[in-house]
Amino acid sequence: MNPTTSRIQVRPATEREGRKDYIRIQNYGFWYSEKKALDAISLDVPERQVVAFIGPSGCGKSTLLRNLNRMNDLIDGIRHEGDITIAGRSIYDPNLEVISLRRRVGMVFQKSNPFPKSIYENVVYALRVMGVTNRATLDEACETSLRKSALWDEVKDRLNESALGLSGGQMQRLCIARAIANRPEILLMDEPCSALDPIATGKIEELIHELKEQFTIVIVTHSMQQAARVSDRTAFFYLGKLIEYDTTEKIFMNPSQAQTEAYISGRFG
């Protein structure tokens, strides 16, 4: 076995009750104008598990993630083929409003992007735009989400202060709190720790473990150690193609594809 691979500690996959094909990506292709970014991707994400997307820059993993809540709709000239279903329903269903899709699929971005509002307003934003005005409901949601994102003890005394005064790690956890405040079913994380120090990263990884009790999590990461530590299943992408998708243990200990092995052992060229 490769020495690099053996250093990576893999957490054994948790098997839970739930749909095995909660998110089903079927033969999915995607174009930015003329450039093909994704090519015939097919994979299933089981309910309440963590799936990591890994691969070199430009391999399409972020593109795929951002298509799960149709964030790429903002870009002009995009086009897709194939289909993505969540709990059996296509996200491209013309009867499904993109807003309601995004309410079910929360997202955390690479750069923490809190709004220039108070911590409280940041967390309850998703509820506010849903039209919730009941103060008690908002307060409760705020506390629950902040507790879940392990930020409550640090900010409970300054909920009305600007979110921009938080540290980088706190901001990212705030963004997680914001993403889970309206209780989505799925949480997408686009390299959530790439701008954080190891301690903050550790906290967020702990958080991911706790969150997967309730949410189905798809995480894009450049750190293979992170993928190994947090995910149950891992998908390796290269040049817009899905090279290998299996349990994390299998991918890191015994990959079936040569490219996968080359990538995770750092011998990629």
């Binding site: 807003i99 220039p116 998703a126 735009v129």
Partner: protein
């Protein structure tokens, strides 16, 4: 080759640093020059210098304030003859207020401590030697009397009090009665036209007429009483002049005053300049109506242009499909900023005043038109049309600034909001607009600065030389958007080019310019303060 260039010791960039800073230097010099010119000339309105008594070769004497000294036009270049301009005042006696004298004609110049400067309600200032006062009780107090100064101030303030009362009656009360009469006459004509009974209205009119006459006689009586006190003085040639206190505003002894007394007088005059109404074809008195008009107009312009511009920019930036049409529209909007302002004035007159205002009159004020000699209400220039015209003129500034501000909002914030399930409009309202508020305000500041100083279009759509009433008063509906108003920029033009007494008007031109600059700076400072507060809210953002 690279070797040789590396070897030269002459610094490569330095000369260009100097070259590029040249533009800044020229700009700074111009700004400083402009400000000091305006400051110096403007403050001469308020400063009281010493007033010399000048004896001339022909044995005549003049007493007056030195205004300027120059080479006499047409005098030989090698051996120039200088001449001096004095403001001698007493226009009603001399027939002139300013006079030029060759320096060669001056025999002696000295400062008579007794010389007194007088500011008057009409005919400009006077420089005299006081002899005595006949006070309200008919007593005569000699200038040598120790009481003289006290009595002088007492009579001046008494006269000022009477003037204020008369003013209140003639402007305030008689004005109110006049407006009511006006309205009743229209009603009367309508009643006659429709064959309705007119007795009641006629009764009211008679009552008001009576009231009017009473007030008028009251005012006349008051001013007659106030004018009993007189100041007896000698003019420059020693002739007796009698000046009624009712025509005097303030008196000072320019050759005796200490520096602090001069400063006090300066602030006194400055206060009058800012808070009083103009006199003497605008060459004296204050600028209150013009300051007020400029402020109100600028505020309304901002209130109109900001929402309109922001909404337009939101559509252009957030909703409109990118393509040739959008690009053309954007170019047109940008070019609109370069259209000469007078063009907007013509548009304002042709569209706002004649078309819009005319239609409003036809729809809502047809009675007034019919029974009031076709006097238009909104179909003529006014505050509303001025604000609208300038709002239109400054619209591109706000649109461009808002578009820039919207596009400068970090993509992450937009995505975060959308990912949280917000609709596009919610994202714009809750995230984009607050985040781009400082940028939008920058645009509004620029628009205000441009609008407040604009004159040309306003001349066509409602600014006048002298407006009898402010656009804001105690009569319902309190804010009269149809009224014409005074404006500092136009005031400067009017003083500089339309004044019957250009010598008297010149210092006022500078003083008014100074005031306009101060006003624009104040408006901008206000907006900048708001902007900085907003900016502080976004400080520390990690994007």
């Amino acid at each position: 080759m690279s070797q040789s260039s590396a070897d030269t010791l002459t610094p490569k960039g330095e000369s260009w640093v100097w070259f590029t800073s040249l533009g800044l230097i020229v700009g700074l010099v111009m700004v400083v020059g402009l400000l000091s010119l305006v400051l110096l000339n403007g403050f001469s309105v308020f400063w009281a210098p010493q007033v010399p008594t000048v004896q001339l070769k022909d044995n005549s004497t003049i007493v007056g304030q030195l205004v300027q000294r120059r080479v006499r036009p047409g005098s030989p270049a090698l051996n120039p003859i200088y001449e001096r301009q004095y403001q001698v005042g007493l226009r009603e006696l001399n027939g002139f207020s300013y006079i030029w004298k060759d320096e060669g004609d001056i025999v002696k110049e000295f400062f008579n401590p007794e010389t007194m400067g007088l500011e008057r309600v009409e005919n400009g200032p006077a420089f005299v030697t006081p002899v005595a006062i006949i006070d309200s009780q008919g007593r005569r107090i000699s200038a040598k009397d120790s009481e003289f100064k006290v009595i002088l101030q007492k009579e001046l303030s008494h006269a000022a009090g009477v003037r204020d009362q008369v003013h209140e009656i003639s402007r305030g009360k008689i004005g109110d009665v006049n407006r009511e009469l006006e309205a009743l006459r229209i009603e009367l004509r309508r009643a006659e036209d429709k064959g309705l009974p007119t007795e009641e209205i006629q009764g009211k009119v008679a009552q008001l007429d009576k009231q009017f006459a009473e007030l008028k006689s009251q005012a006349e009586q008051m001013s007659a009483q106030g004018s009993k006190a007189k100041l007896i003085a000698h003019d420059a040639s020693g002739k007796d002049v009698q000046l009624a206190f009712s025509t005097l505003i303030r008196a000072w002894t320019p050759n005796q005053m200490s520096f602090f007394e001069r400063i006090e007088l300066l602030f006194n005059r400055l206060g009058e300049f800012i808070f009083d109404e103009p006199r003497e074809a605008n060459t004296e008195g204050g600028l209150m109506p013009a300051i007020f008009g400029t402020l109100v107009m600028t505020v309304f312009m901002s209130l109109m242009v900001t929402p309109f511009g922001v909404i337009t920019a939101i559509y252009l930036r957030e909703y409109a499909q990118d393509g040739p049409i959008l690009r053309t529209v954007r170019i047109c909007v940008n070019n609109l900023a370069g259209v000469p302002s007078i063009v907007f004035g013509v548009f304002g007159l042709g569209f706002f005043v004649y078309v819009l205002g005319g239609s409003i009159d036809q729809l809502f004020y047809s009675d007034q038109l019919k029974y009031n000699n076709n006097t238009p209400v909104f179909g003529t220039g006014g505050l509303l049309w001025c604000s609208l015209t300038l709002a239109l003129m400054t619209l591109p500034v706000v649109i461009v600034a808002t578009e820039e501000a919207l596009s400068a909002v970090p993509r992450g914030m937009r995505e975060a909001s959308l990912a949280a399930g917000a609709s596009k409009w919610q994202t714009i309202r809750d995230i984009l607009l607050p985040a781009s508020a400082p940028g939008i305000l920058t645009g509004v500041i620029l628009a205000m600065a441009r609008g407040a100083g604009e004159v040309a279009p306003l001349m066509l759509v409602g600014v006048v030389k002298l407006a009898p009433t402010l656009p804001l008063d105690t009569m319902a509906p309190f804010l009269h958007m149809d009224r014409k108003f005074m404006h500092l920029g136009f005031h400067i033009y009017d003083l500089g080019f339309q004044s019957p007494d250009s010598d008297a008007a010149r210092p006022m031109v500078f003083a008014t310019t100074l005031l306009l600059i101060v006003l624009v700076v104040c408006l901008n400072l206000g907006a900048i303060t708001i902007r900085n507060r907003l900016r502080a809210k976004f400080k520390g953002a990690s994007f």
